[in-house]
Symmetry: D3
Subunit: 333 residues, 6 copies
């Protein structure tokens, strides 16, 4: 385990997915997992043997308890999680097949996390022995309170000199509390060292317009000079069952591209971006070069597509083996 | 099928229960059904070959669709159901075993049904060919809008001379929108012919205090002269796995008592009151005496304890056979 | 919902399939659904918001009840279904994988439907408010009674000016009651406006021989002048897991061809022809051109391959989206 | 293993039961097993280390194959089983709970076994190294052919001096082929040494009338002097979940009674009579006294109630331990 | 959470149980959990909000990882767990029903834990901030190494003044490495403050003989003066489905008896003794009297019988509610 | 069935696999089957209607019983199996997906089979009516006893003029008892007529070095002149989900190559080599040419990839149909 921990902050929901390729109207049962973009990053890092802590707010009931146990299972520290009377956010997932798209119904409105308020988290205590803080654009999109608490965290992290990463993760259907992404996101990105986002994410959250990824990155860095690296995955969707993914990274000097993976029999693509994020943090924490970091991260993301759930359950060894192109399709005895 | 239909009104939720005796924190999946106190009555009546329609408001998404299909499956008419943008109410159920209690976590706040408003339902059209309207005290406890729409329905039903039944179903944890049961319920009970409620239900919703069930009934009828019959089940809980139930009915003249059933291996007790209600409606619609009606209804309720889900799936024949005490424990080939 | 309903007529069986890729001898359980070629069409139409009614004969037992509930679930009207003492037809399905073929064991002999007799169905009443009647060549292949009742329906439908479609669906293993397809089918096709059938179907049921699909259609229309359109899907089977499908239609003037879909990860191909049929009826009822109709229908059929069961559970929107080539492989949030 | 085998003859069906307490209309899957009264006896004997062979006729398809494999699994010899083109008999089982009865829907008409005909089985070869032949009253009730083949077997068995047992197992709903039980059964019982049957069974199959079990036995033996022992279980049904059973035996001299077992949490009562029969054969083959034999057999029958499926899976040791009253409710490590 | 932690030490196995009442030979799958007598105590304490750590040795493979994650899920600290090349111990469980006993097949020989050796655990570090150490008689029965490491721990714990509890848990089938219980146990009990054991346990491990529980306790304390309390549960086994349990405690002065619980529908009795142990530690850590402690502990043990798995998943509130006799069999909404 | 049986010898393990694509740490249950390389061959042959017997040593407990029943189910003779006190070997399987490899954790050390000793099996009796004996290189790698018993069998088989086949199946992780493959294998191969092995297998077990498969075969035959044929499958692993396989055979004169199969949606690849072996034995026993034999065998192996479990469940007809390239991807009704 690393000495200094990675801290992530964001909502964790009950994920209810139909089994195999069952449609919502066919579902006589739902598979239950607990997941959230930022917590998925913490879980993957913990499985990479990097100590990680997740901060969130849960309902004070058995579902909140189950969610905490689920984080504990992966080894994620949960001691700063707070509790309230509201509900657990939920999302329902129907896995697509071939030409049929996958569908998510979010039911996260008015959750315990959405009711988080400034001052509820003692960020000074939380970030005491942290070396990295990770947030995503989902959090400020949920409620004013969540946006405020995210900003609180960024200010403390900055003061402590902690590396900050932010996954823009722009979602049109959130941002219902009266503010838009371009009103809130620039203020947060300003304090962020590493940004995950595609061209559209950057455009929507920073109000820039660009003819290429590289140009979008250049403009974003001009607007937010603290940002040192911008990266994103690139996905080609042949069908729900078959995608190709690769990664690219702008480090202010050059645009690096990763190897592309052909994902021919997708099991579950949810959380692939979070697996990428965890891979990035792992790479940089371990002192890898930018190129090696995105190769590690995109291999992690590729592997995530072959397992059920939001969390990449692979070990560092398993990811490194794929980076080296070894053992693919073997039966390891 | 009967010529004239029974109309029920109320929320239908997604019911998510853990399998067999699994606790919430053990649940890797939830069994999914759609249920609600009033819809359970409609479903049971439809399986009794009494035509029944349920009126509610659903979210305009695949969960709403699945809920409608679930009602259709039982033969319940759904053509007057309306749709909105809000969420599906949910309830989570953990079945108890022996000394461990069963637990329900309600997550119905802010549902599409809670957002129902006066004028959304054309009650004149809905109740056109109806002979019976059934409501419960859950509806006015959910939101001002739901209470208002319930009252709308009662006024139209009264004008059309339709029999009205109401199950008081007092639940302390509802009634969060600023009104209390004793402020709202008397106005609704005033228009109701038949009331289901135990002593506590009557006390809490009509503000009376009585030393016996009979006396509570007498006082309730004095307060609400339209009420002609008051009835309830009586449950003795030896453990989560073993209960005894019987019924009693005050018809203004005498207190009738039913046979008691010994429920020694309970599968699922949720919906047992709704099964009782459907049995009552069936009995009276078919012209049974009060005594025969409660005997039929309590037998229906007893049988409900032996099957999973909120709905009593038994036929009239199966209930009648139990009333006669025949075939108990037999293997019917 | 459309004002005028589509009526379908045919046997509904209990479908018992092994889970995932389990072989019959491995099966410790069977997934239970209720399905039949014509009822599958009604179910898909009902999910397309076209009102549909299915007419059949069921055993008067709990399996017959379950089958009715299954149709009701999709919104299919079932009020003219009749009941008898005989058994429920059953079919067992083993899904193939790669080079291994899928297998069906039919066990429908002597079913309640096979015992249907002339005069049992009041077709005048059934077809009163219908605009379309659909039958398949499976029905006259089951028993003399079924063939007779099918002819009864066609005569009444014709008199009422209702559009009639027939899916030839030639199956060598049926036709066990002493008549062959070419003795019975021409009489039925004579009253049919739209025929679904490939070259072999046409040859076997109309006794023609032709060197191309177009020529077979021309000859069929010469033999049965009422027929205005002949169409079929074309399937290329690379393996049980990978097929390609497209459609073609002869409308008396030209041979139209649809787009081809590459079905790379088939979940369940049973019912794909019925999904195509429902798509056709939808297209024509909605006034689409022939070309747009087969594009809609083949997209519906393609989507069917990605879900378990005989019934295409997709909505009109989902099919139209595929026709437009949008959202393929996306995660819809 | 014993040197000389026990031969049983009768239909084996595909048993399709709903899971736990699910009703037929709730069943989204059925648990699949293969079972038949006589084969259940053979299976239990084989698990008692008594060599056993079952003779039947199966359809020549994968279900027939699966049924054979299922018998083989228990160690039952299947080499004289014959095959035909007809269907596999099926029975559907819904397990009751508490006051709700269990239900069986038989779907065995026109099965491969029903089409068995005289001369199809080479009984001389089958019974060559047999010491016991067992039949039940179900077989002659299925079809004239089945009755004829049963009689063939009895004549050969008698000639070879093999002990013959017959379980009357009277079922009103069978006997549909034009003969009644009292026309056929006496001829078969005439050649039988040991009869299993309650008072009603004896009355219906031998046309006697008696005021007590003992008197019925006396009369039966008068009518069929070959019969040396008559025995049956006695079941008190408190509910579907709770029964009491005991056994009684008339050996021509005295009426013996067994210990009674209180079956308070029944898992599956189907096959309990067959478990009793296997216990009897085991007892007598091993030279136990009549009293010890019925004690062993009723203990075997009691244990059967605690496991799913028609077959008693207990070993001789497990049965003997219960007879001695040891280890009841213990956790054996 | 308590400031000072409880430390437990012992083997954790992969528990593979058949579903519901399936026998081993019927099992087409096994439910997988990770469990061990001492770890079960730690898990229950952690769910009681008492900080707990478990020390063991696991194989360095994915099963070892899964076991650690399973402990983490309950909140049990796992940082001092060590790893080796050997195998994961396994136990197979078949749940009995009624007269049929439950069965366990242990397959723990040669496990990573059995290969633990003196010096592998840094007990000084482990017990640094501990207030309680718990061991059981299973550990010294497994191997000389395990016995040695247990003694190491006791010596360090004693030096640090930590309370020590030991559950004798005598199992005849263990003790295969050349030593017998009475050679090893007295040396360990000598350092133990609180002993769990019935009369037989005490006799077998301390070589005493006594005519009553009280007398056995008195003799045990004479032999091992460090022991201050001896307690055990008393179980009456009516059947596998129905037991009664109570507790008794000798504190050197008087024999206290607890309330008896009637366990009428047992779900899973494995781990009931560990639930009792955790209840005892909770009671004493929280300063309850001996009488209140055994009441709390036996209520915890009773509740354990109503859930699947070795671990009591109840909260302190749930146990206290049962102690007070409240809410039994209620549906908590 | 063939008159003369095929005898196989080797360990049978409990196979515990995670469901679908679940990882070990996700597994809340394991699918249980019984399998072993040599027994898989016997099972497949038995399903090909070739009489087969398997010889092994099992623990004398319910798992041993279940394993025997599993072999019996396939029709494999088990009468010479012997029993001991030790444990059942186990292997855990995690199925890979796409770039993620499949993993097996063997837990077979110290099993009942590993403790087999010379003289325990009466090979003279076992091989009395045998025409073929099959062994694999796994057996001599397990323990000295297993290697000795394998040699015993070879000597008796040779004396009786029985054809002997051996699958080298070199596994580096076995061979832990102090001997290496090249010390033991040559002695066994010396008595073997037909060898299955790739270049690496041959090199590791016979200590040869060769630049091509053909040259390795030539050298192997020079070393072991009894060997008449050497064959192996060739697998190209594109991913865990997609492989290509073909076969090659050196018969001393020419190197034959089979058709290649494209396995695009692998369900379970374990046992594919055993399916190949069974196909070879079938081909040669039936007098096919070498070319036809490897075509049959590789088709059998290809089909195995499309079903769960170690055993190829296909019939001869199904394999022959694939050899002919017929019905691929069809729906057989």
């Amino acid at each position: 385990m690393n000495r200094k921990k990675i801290v992530t902050f964001g909502e964790v929901m009950l994920r209810l997915s139909t089994s195999s390729f069952s449609r919502f109207t066919q579902a006589s049962q739902f598979v239950a997992l607990y997941a959230g973009s930022e917590a998925n990053v913490a879980a993957s890092l913990s499985l990479f043997q990097i100590s990680a802590e997740h901060v969130t707010r849960f309902p004070n009931n058995d579902l909140g308890k189950a969610a905490v146990q689920s984080l504990n299972k992966y080894g994620v520290e949960t001691k700063h999680i707070i509790y309230g009377d509201e509900r657990m956010g939920v999302y329902f997932l129907e896995n697509g097949a071939m030409q049929r798209s996958s569908k998510i119904i979010y039911d996260r409105f008015d959750s315990a996390f959405a009711h988080i308020k400034k001052g509820m988290i003692d960020w000074d205590d939380v970030l005491n022995d942290a070396s990295w803080f990770h947030w995503t654009g989902i959090t400020p999109a949920i409620s004013q309170g969540a946006a405020d608490v995210c900003m609180e965290a960024l200010l403390v992290a900055r003061k402590k000199g902690i590396t900050i990463s932010g996954d823009i993760n722009y979602r049109r259907n959130l941002w219902q509390y009266g503010k838009s992404a371009d009103q809130v996101m620039p203020g947060l990105i300003e304090y962020t060292d590493i940004i995950i986002g595609g061209t559209t994410d950057i455009e929507n959250s920073l109000g820039v317009k660009a003819s290429s990824y590289e140009k979008a990155c250049v403009q974003a860095m001009k607007k937010c000079p603290a940002v040192k690296k911008i990266t994103s995955t690139h996905r080609e969707s042949i069908s729900s069952s078959h995608n190709k993914i690769s990664a690219r990274l702008w480090n202010g000097k050059e645009l690096l591209n990763s190897k592309e993976y052909d994902l021919t029999h997708i099991v579950d693509r949810v959380g692939a971006g979070d697996a990428y994020m965890a891979g990035l943090i792992y790479g940089w924490v371990k002192g890898k070069t930018d190129q090696d970091t995105i190769e590690f991260a995109i291999a992690a993301s590729a592997l995530k597509h072959g397992m059920e759930g939001d969390v990449n359950l692979c070990t560092v060894d398993e990811v490194e083996t794929l980076v080296k192109g070894e053992n693919i399709g073997k039966l390891l005895r």
